[in-house]
């Protein structure tokens, strides 16, 4: 692999990894929101 090939691959990889990291962060946040919704549903049920 030449230096040019390595750097070009690195540039595209940076974009790919950033998008992947963003999706992971959003997925984590979604899990937290799901937990909170479940907790609120439980509280409403307890209230009757």
């Amino acid at each position: 692999m030449t230096a040019s090939e390595k750097y070009t691959a690195a540039a595209y990889l940076v974009v790919f990894v950033a998008v992947l990291a963003y999706v992971l962060i959003i997925a984590t946040k979604l899990q937290r929101l799901e937990r909170e919704v479940a907790e609120l549903v439980q509280r409403v049920r307890e209230r009757g």
Binding site: S4, T8, A10, A11, V14, V15, I26, K29, L33
Partner: protein
Amino acid sequence: MSVVTRRPDYDGRVTANRLPLIAGATVAAMAAAIALVFFYAPEDADQGLSQRIFYFHVPLALTAYACFGWGAWKALRHLWKRVDGADLESYVAIHQGVIFGALTLLTGSIWARISWGVWWSWSEDQLVMFLVLFLFYCAYFMLRFSLDAGPARANICAVYALFGVVLIPISFLAIRLSKQFIHPVVFTRAGPQMTDSQFVTFCVALFAMLALFATLYSVELAGKRLDARLRELRELLA
């Protein structure tokens, strides 16, 4: 079966949820862009393979400008028309702009390392102006999170977002006003300085990047709105 579903809007109105459609278009456009970049666009005679970074680097920069511009437009809507949720939309657009801006700087640095032999050049007006624009919008978050949530914070942040938009044309024109001209100028008054196949590849890559922004913006906005509603619900139940 339609992929366009219905969802409640910020103020409770039910609007069409086009997110699955936008996300699908983004995946298709991104796949097409990558295929065109590596299998269709001809190799540059001077720069060789590394020139292919251009097809993602320039659309990333243009998308960052679009994000900041969209953020400023939403800020203006907040200040002028007091549109519900415009402050949140402005914040999300600027957040996306900072992400696209960081990727522009990273891919640009990698390209500079191959072409110029350095990661960064302080003598290049275009680079420095983009960095100033990027740092200006990074400071937006410091301002936003140093103030208590409420109408005052929304107004101050909207004014800041509007000030930043002035830097966009300066940053865009810096490459043309620069005396150094080490940074390549691809779009001149005579049109794009590339072959037809390169221009088609560039346009597809730009569309893919704008679609990616639209998808990420919609996802983040939906998350933030849901978060706000849950907070409201928790307060009502307390």
